[in-house]
Structure formats: C-alpha cells, structure tokens
Point group: C2
Chain length 341, copies 2
C-alpha cells in the first residue's frame, strides 16, 4: 500500500474537470474570468484531488513569492517573539508568510544572511533588532525589495522604519524620576550602536539637562542581561549609590532588579528602577516594573501596512513611522506625589 506521493497539478485537475489547464489556472487567479460552469467543474475536481496551486511556480511568473523575509537577532528578549507572533498573524491574514533568518548582530553575518535571503525571492524584508549598513540596504533596494526596519531607525539610508517615540520616551522617564525627587539618577543604556539605545539615552539626558541636572552615571548595557547586571554591580559598588536607575529596556531591567535585590535594596523604596518596552513579564508579580510601553500592536500594524504599500508601489518613498507609548506606572519606582499621568 505505497501511496505514491504524487503531487497533484493543474493538469490533473484540468483532465478530471474536462477543461484546459489555463481554465484551471484562471479559476484560481483572482481577477481572471471564468464562467460559473467551468468554475464549478474545476472547483469540484480540485477538491476531490486536493489541489492547491503551487506557490513557487506562481511566484516565478508573477514575480511575487508572498514570502516576507524577517531578520532577527535574539529571541530572548520577550519583546521580539511577541512582535514576531503579531507580525506573522497579520501577514498571514493578508496571504503572506514569514521566512525566518537569524543573524548575530555583527555586520558581516547580516550581510551573508541577506545574500541568502534574497535567493528566496522574498517580496520584502523586515529587519528587527538588527542594523543594516547603507551598502546592504542599497543592495537590497537595487534588487527591488522593500526594506522596513522594525524597532530600529537609521539615518541617511533609503529604508523605511517603524519605531516607538524613543526620544520622547527617554524624556518621560527623566521627568518621572525627577518629579519623584530622586537625587542620583543613573542610566544603564540600550546599546549605543543602535538608534533605539541612542535615542532613549538622548531624550533622557536632554530632559535631565533641561532641569539643570547631571546623571549619577551612564553606562552602556549593550541590550545584554549579563552586561546590564555587571553595570548595576558597578553602580552599587561605591560608597555612594544611585537612588534611581533608568534601564534601556525591560530585558536588562529585570537583571538590574535582580542585582538591586541581591544588594538588599527594595525596588520602589530604597531605589527606583524604570525600564522600556512593557513586555508581559513587566506586569508579573516577580518584577512589577515601571516602564515605557512600546505599542507592539500599532507598530506591527504600521509595519504591515507600510510594507504592503511598498510592495504595490515600487516607487514609494521610504517612511519613518514613530508610535508614541505611555509610561506605565507600577511598583518598581517611587511615584511622585500627585502623579496622574
């Protein structure tokens, strides 16, 4: 009983339905004309045979693979799996699917990966948490593939990007901490090689500066839990320690809270910790982290719409979309008196 795994093609369906192969194709091509009669015959035959048009063959003709390449570095930070899930769902609803490419954050690796990915004739490229050099972006663009950076911006490069309002976010945190009466505010920043890390830090410093204040200390946490924890250890080592730490993302902030507690300090009382992202874990009892929310849903929505537009219209200009997010007040940081928003 060896079922030959014969792939059923449009020719098989045509034969069974008693029509031409072209007719079958038309029935499965939206916008093509076919009489109700043929349509019925074809659909019936297709169902009995279990026929679905071969996406790859179709892609060769139309030049549309309905595959979106997604380059992502680390899935450890809960923000990315979440974004991935939402992106996949939204894209799936539009008839697209995500082909995953994992890339360490070094430029050469990204290069190799992008070469690899272009061979799959993807319709568009989403780069999440990964930076792209100008040459690379140019190369992809030349191949006619739209690029959208997700949660990462880039200057002077002809690619689109969707981010949250990082500068404004950094400012909000500084204001919150300042109004909370903190005297020694430290910052363990997001990776300064990334736009998000730089913008959050700039906003924070700008607001501090406007208030005539200097941060207790500023270090680069590199978006790495271990690195951030090491930074926290350093900040807490001296005779004078900070009474607040703004951490560049939640993922690092959890590590910082662990260090803070290991030092016998209580977040929200003896020291304040504020993060950035509002991943689900931030709300859980183990951390209950005050943080800036990155509105994943709206970021995903913008990304998908933008991408679809760029796929339709090859001449569409790059856009930079920024979505604002609120400060979510929880218990990891002291709340200023009379704080409402």
């Amino acid at each position: 009983m060896t079922d030959e795994p014969h792939k059923v093609t449009s020719v098989d369906v045509a034969r069974l339905a008693g029509v031409s192969q072209s007719a079958v194709s038309r029935v499965f091509t939206s916008g093509a004309s076919a009489s109700k009669k043929t349509k019925d015959k074809v659909l019936k035959a297709a169902t009995t045979l279990g026929y679905r048009p071969n996406v790859l063959a179709r892609a060769m003709i139309t030049g549309r693979s309905r595959i979106i390449g997604l380059v992502v570095a680390y899935l450890e930070n809960q923000f990315y799996p979440l974004a991935l899930e939402r992106l996949s769902n939204a894209l799936q609803a539009k008839g697209y699917h995500i082909l995953i490419f994992t890339a360490p954050n070094s430029a050469e690796d990204v290069e190799a990966v992008i070469q690899d990915l272009m061979a799959y004739q993807i319709d568009a490229l989403i780069a999440a948490s990964v930076s792209i050099t100008s040459e690379l972006a140019e190369q992809v663009r030349k191949a006619g593939i739209p690029v959208v950076l997700f949660n990462r911006g880039q200057d002077g490069v002809g690619v689109s990007s969707v981010t949250s309002a990082n500068l404004a976010g950094g400012r909000k945190v500084a204001r919150f901490l300042l109004e909370g009466g903190h005297e020694r505010i430290g910052h363990i920043a997001g990776w300064q090689g990334s736009s998000t890390g730089r913008d959050r830090q700039s906003g924070f410093l700008a607001e501090m500066n406007a208030a005539g204040r200097t941060p207790f200390s500023v270090m680069d946490g590199m978006y790495s839990r271990d690195e951030a924890m090491a930074c926290a250890e350093k900040m807490l080592a001296g005779p004078v320690i900070p009474d607040a730490i703004f951490v560049g993302n939640d993922h690092m902030a959890f590590g910082v809270m662990d260090v803070v507690r290991a030092h016998g300090l209580v977040p929200g009382h003896s020291i304040s910790v504020v993060g950035y992202d509002d991943v689900p874990l931030a709300e859980w009892g183990g951390y209950h982290l005050t943080t800036i929310r990155q509105p994943v849903n709206r970021m995903v929505e913008s990304t998908v719409n933008l991408m679809l537009r760029m796929i339709e219209d090859a001449d569409a200009m790059p856009e930079h979309i920024e979505v604002e997010g609120p400060l979510i007040v929880r218990s990891s940081a002291r709340i200023p008196e009379g704080w409402t928003k």
Copy 2:
C-alpha cells in the same frame, strides 16, 4: 537615476563569462562537473553581477524548496521562542529556512494553516506545541512531506515526535516533593488535551500512588497563565491549603508563584512550587524556580537530524525520540535533607 531592479539570472552570468547557461548552473550545483577554468570565469562574472541562483526556480526542478514549515501556536511561553531560535540556527547551518505559520490551537485552524503551508512546497513540517489530527497527518504524509511533532507526542499516527521524558519527569517531581516531606501536594496540570500535559501528570500520579499517597488536588491549567492562576486561587481559598504545588510548565508556574506570594506565602518556605521546562526566566531572581529541565538543545538537534533523515529517505519509519532532563533545584521548593541529585 532609476536603477531598473533587473533580476540577474544565470543567462546574464553566462553571457558575461562567455559560457553556456548550463555551465553556470553546474558551477552552482554541488556535485556537478566543471573545469577549474570555467568555474573561475563563472564565479568572477557572478560576483561582479551579484548573482545568486533563484531558490524557487531550483525548487521547481529538484522538488526541494529548502523551506521547512513550522506551525506554532503561542510564542508567549518563553520555551518556544527559544526553541524557534535554535531550530532556525541549526537549520540555517544546513541550508534550510523556516517558514512560520501561526495557528490557534483549534483543529480547524490548524487544518486551514496546513493547507496553506503545503502550497509552499515545504520539504518538511515541524509542529511545535500543536496537535495534529490523524487525518491531517495522513494528508500531509500522502503529499510526501515528513512531519515531526516538537514537544508533543501522538499515538497511533504515522508521524515522528521529539519530546522530553515527560513521564519520568513527572515521577521525579513527585519523588522530590515526597522526600521533602510535603503532606498536601497539589497539581496544576498542563493541558490534558496534549500528550505532554497528560504524561507529566501520569508520571506524577504514578509515583504518588506507588508511595501510597493521594494528591491534595488536581486541576487542568490548560497551559494558560490566567487559567493556572485561577486554579491556584481555588487551591488557596479553602481552610486547608496545599504545602506544595507541581505546575505543568514554568510559564504557568510563574503565575502560580505570583498568586502564592499575593497570599502572603513564601515559595520554598511556607509552600513549595515546582515547574517544568527550565526556561531562562526560571533562573532569574524574581522567581528562582525549581523545575525539570527540558534540554532544548538536544531536542532541537534530534529534531533537525530526524527531519533531514526523513527528507533524504522517503521510506524512513517514524521515530519517537525522548530526551531525559534533570531536576534543577532552586529556591522555590523545600529541599529534602541530604538531597544530592
């Protein structure tokens, strides 16, 4: 300055190199013969033109798309993004890539998704955290596509599976809790519609039974954080409460710990909580959860090897691979005196 996004093909390379199109193809086909001279010419031309063979066109001929379909339900449980990342890396190293399909856990949705996914001519299907009905599995198998269930088993269906030793794991937890002198051991189980949920529970109950003990209470947490928290609330509502709870996975266990703490109890002292998975968060200070480790790396390795074998050999019999994992002792549960392993 409109760069026509012209796709460079093997014909372009052939022209520039002064050889036939077939020659170009051979240079890029491993195992094909080409003289060093042509090879050099072709490679040089390919580099200047930025040529890469079109994977889709190649797939049409060879019948190998080098695309692996991955069906996954929820990425919220940290275990899955982690597995996904590792799978993607391992597969990428072998020249394959993952096409993502997200499916809610209802049977019809999975059906639609699988139809969708077969249209992409995937070389194999990995179903993670998703059950597949026998008919569906049969349908996919008939199309000649190998199926591997990741972290989910299935009886009486001709598909392969890779899981951890869930039965043994459940037993280990029971033994640990018993030896710890706990008197009222509750169980908030993994979804009883899944093999992992059932097996962990069976192992737990078998060992309890062998010791002549009855669990305090057994509820189905459905692998949902909210559901598990509701179960915990119920267990802690009565006048008599458990002194230990075995939770079907870490993701739920974190929620249970939150509830436990909200009741003023201290995990590891007034009550013990044990999970299953050992996701990274289990080690973090906020929870420090005692749990059974699912060896993701080895599970991924097994999955990839098994899949590759099945792609090579269409007649390969389904295999069921089970990887054992150790109990990782942390502070969320009382440690039996003299406990070494």
